[in-house]
């Protein structure tokens, strides 16, 4: 399957940067991550869950730490299970305590980062984990690309079935409830989906910037759209453009790919902010 892709890239994009196999892999990864983050991000922003996804991202550190403690080489599955449990814990905390959600989430976030750092820095070995902080998209291998493809397919199917319910819950939970939607269940399902996607993507994008990649395109698209369809189309265009531009520029500038992509997305955000009055 990857051979077909390599041949296709060689045929369509006969440039210097596509000579490297790692760039071909990374390009495919960007093409998969972009729609994934575009459609996730729009709903995260709709639900005002930017802080939640940020916490899930940061807590990945603790997930890694637990994986390391349990002696796993590749802690991805441990990280995913951990973040799902954490997402569940946060949604239970949200309903149990009447405290404002950001207070609850803020407390969890800082605790998780601290716990992760304490465990991973035992014996001064934190440096080997710093790849998780910045992320390395260029190191992605074909198996991992396949994992991303399956994740994207899963999200697209979930959206096909549940999008309207997610939307109604995000607009107003009472209204959704009166339409017979199990609000808490839908809310929890969305939290879990966010947790899984953030955690799966984190080793290529990086803990520090993953949330920006999720939020910025959606925030930019929001500035210039007046309906759900425009919102999604704009968000997709922005993630694709900034994803490809970021990948290329990071190759020529020798910079971290994830961060370069985020900078392009930030440019889009600034640009849309300037033209916002025309659309509002």
């Amino acid at each position: 399957m990857m051979e077909t892709w390599y041949a296709l890239v060689n045929h369509l994009l006969p440039f210097a940067w596509t000579q490297h196999t790692f760039m071909k892999n990374a390009l495919l990864a960007v093409l998969l991550v972009s729609p994934l983050f575009a459609i996730m991000g729009t709903m995260v922003v709709n639900n005002k869950m930017a802080f939640f996804s940020d916490t899930i991202g940061h807590s990945a550190l603790t997930g890694i730490a637990i994986g390391v403690l349990l002696g796993f080489q590749d802690p991805l599955w441990i990280m995913v299970i951990f973040s799902v449990l954490l997402a569940l814990a946060i949604s239970v905390l949200k309903t149990l305590t009447n405290a404002s959600t950001d207070t609850t989430i803020g407390a969890v976030s800082a605790t998780m980062v601290a716990l992760g750092i304490v465990i991973l820095s035992r014996g001064g070995g934190f440096n080997k984990f710093s790849r998780f902080l910045v992320g390395d998209l260029l190191s992605i291998n074909p198996d991992e690309v396949l994992l991303l493809a399956f994740t994207l397919a899963g999200v697209v199917i979930l959206w096909g079935v549940m999008f309207n319910k997610f939307l109604l819950v995000s607009v107003n939970p009472s209204l959704a409830h009166s339409r017979g939607i199990p609000v808490r269940l839908i809310d929890t399902l969305f939290c879990i989906t966010t947790a899984v996607i953030v955690t799966i993507s984190i080793q290529w994008v990086g803990i520090l910037i993953i949330n920006s990649l999720l939020i910025l395109p959606a925030a930019a698209a929001r500035n210039i759209s007046r309906s759900m369809r425009q919102y999604h189309v704009a968000s997709l265009l922005i993630t694709f453009t900034s994803g490809i531009a970021g990948l290329l520029m990071s190759y020529y500038w020798s910079t971290a790919t994830g961060a370069t992509i985020v900078l392009f997305a930030a440019l889009f955000y600034l640009g849309t902010l300037l033209v916002k009055p025309r659309f509002a």
Partner: protein
């Protein structure tokens, strides 16, 4: 679109729901008892108005009937043969809290309620027409492509009413639905609701502070303050000495005006 054609549009048999029964009904949140010992029996085709001071628990009662808040006691929906059934409940909230910057159009929100076809994809013409017809029943078809955040308070309430009427509900819960609407809008709203009720036998529970309109349109008034203080026809409730004493001259003045010269209020009065 006239009211008659609206009703003709919504083909419908009389609903199977016959009455909603609340027995020994109460709501306690945390340690605060908000409602207690409520016994109510709401017949189909009846417009019941819930009135009472602020903080009396009117909204809480509606939310408990909706199932959003837990309640004690018994709540049952019965059909003609006294069998329990799950009714379609329409709900128009007092005020819809949503993010005004959100890029959701009226069409998006409405079709999200009607079908599960993701509204971020293309809207089919059939769905567009259905939503448009629904909006036309509250004279709001021009709002179809507006962003939700760009609607005025009254426009938003009309859109919400149209949504609550689609699919046709057995029980319609209206929480101060017209508090932000001008006098003419209120008239249209109440006439529409009255007609729907007569035609389709649907029960309506309406929370309102608008004593004059309520006494003209409601079959029954329930005065709520923690529990049911008084329940009866508008004449019975508003002529009750005890209620006049407890709830002060504001009510008596309102009802007096209503009974003596209702037209005047309708044409010129701006009532809170």
């Amino acid at each position: 679109m006239s009211k008659v054609s609206i009703i003709q549009k919504t083909h419908r048999e009389s609903c199977g729901l016959c009455h909603t029964k609340l027995k020994n009904f109460g709501v306690t949140i945390g340690r605060t008892e908000i409602l207690r010992d409520i016994d109510l029996h709401i017949q189909c085709g009846e417009l019941t108005a819930l009135v009472g001071p602020n903080g009396a628990g009117k909204t809480t009662l509606l939310k408990a009937i909706l199932g959003e808040i837990r309640h004690t006691g018994e709540l049952s929906f019965l059909d003609a043969g006294d069998c329990r059934r799950n009714p379609v409940v329409g709900y128009v909230p007092q005020r819809l809290d949503f993010d005004p910057g959100s890029p959701v159009s009226v069409l998006d929100l409405f079709s999200a309620c009607l079908s599960s076809w993701p509204v971020c994809l293309v809207h089919s013409r059939r769905r567009r027409e259905r939503v448009s017809a629904g909006l036309a029943s509250v004279q709001a078809e021009h709002l179809l492509d507006r962003r939700l955040g760009d609607l005025s308070g009254g426009e938003l309430q009309r859109v919400l009413l149209a949504m609550a009427l689609e699919p046709n509900p057995d029980l319609l819960l209206l929480d101060e639905p017209v508090s932000g609407i001008d006098v003419q809008g209120k008239e249209i709203f109440y006439d529409l609701v009255s007609n729907l009720r007569k035609q389709y036998d649907l029960s309506i529970i309406l929370v309102s502070h608008d004593w004059s309109l309520v006494s003209n349109h409601a079959d029954r008034i329930v005065l709520l303050d923690r529990t049911v203080q008084r329940c009866g026809t508008p004449q019975e409730v508003f002529s009750d000495e005890r209620i006049l004493r407890t709830y002060g001259p504001a009510i008596s003045k309102d009802t007096e005006q209503t009974f003596l010269k209702p037209r005047l209020i309708h044409n010129g009065g701006v009532r809170a």
